[in-house]
Symmetry: C3
Subunit: 133 residues, 3 copies
Amino acid sequence: MFFSFDLQTQNQTALIDITHLAVKAVQQAGIKDGLCLVYIPHTTAGVTINENADPDVVTDILAALDKIVPAGGYRHREGNSPAHIKASLMGSSQTVIVRKGNLVLGTWQGIYFCEFDGPRRRKIHIKVWQTGA
Amino acid sequence: MFFSFDLQTQNQTALIDITHLAVKAVQQAGIKDGLCLVYIPHTTAGVTINENADPDVVTDILAALDKIVPAGGYRHREGNSPAHIKASLMGSSQTVIVRKGNLVLGTWQGIYFCEFDGPRRRKIHIKVWQTGA
Amino acid sequence: MFFSFDLQTQNQTALIDITHLAVKAVQQAGIKDGLCLVYIPHTTAGVTINENADPDVVTDILAALDKIVPAGGYRHREGNSPAHIKASLMGSSQTVIVRKGNLVLGTWQGIYFCEFDGPRRRKIHIKVWQTGA
């Protein structure tokens, strides 16, 4: 099954926990065993899986990406080249296993929408499909 | 269905739009709903999804990767360690949803083969498979 | 089919070849055509596909990641923020095509567990599923 969710981001850069959207998609799909793909149809945003406990981790990831891809010195006139590069570093999709009706995430794992050129209205596509157990 | 395409790259580093190969694979597979995996069977090349409009974005991504992974100071004697590292940063595969017979890409998204150690003759594997709608 | 393997890492950072685990999973699943997802349920470890021939490549990747994400200057009090960031740069999963009962890896490709905050006891989840040929 295919799902598409809207997300209004509030800041220029942010990591936003969207695990609940994947959980909702798996529940609505009603499958027991299969997979769940979270796909971001944007080029200045991405998706990553990382710690859901201490919010400082998310802050540190964003600050590190700012150092890895500093502002300034790019050709693209829109001025958001760092956002494009960060999106490719994090990736456009994440795939999670579904087992016994649940997402198989590690204890500390959450799925994060990565906004790198906000605030914007964004879309999150989620595909859930059944496989053998 | 499984497809394999050949690609002769022309430069040492390049991002080459291969979206049309994925479109062709989905059409030839003739599926309505499913997924499309683009897989690169090389260790000094990768694949990413990014902007297909302004070619400066691709130029900026390549230049940024050169700064993130500078030349020199590596142990691997072939001298192409930066290419290996960039390949891991971009990734070996990208997965795109197929819906109603079409790839579900965002408006500005293209699929890019990432050459980091060319020019070379490369292979691109594409797997398309059907799922429930 | 779903498989879960344990891995005891020995060092703080390491890239450990786990290709044989994916091969074993595909064999035990007994499928001919399909896909194999290697998923890491941790937030300070990841998985990447890179060269399996010269071990210097792995050493160079780890050293490059140490430069890209230097130690120090983070808010997360556990002190392992670089490990979290490296995990997101490499990714939580890798997908490989299965064809005629075999993983379709390139000649020089191996699947590597990326330990960034060891030594620890880790889990590796592998999902193998059948598709049309």
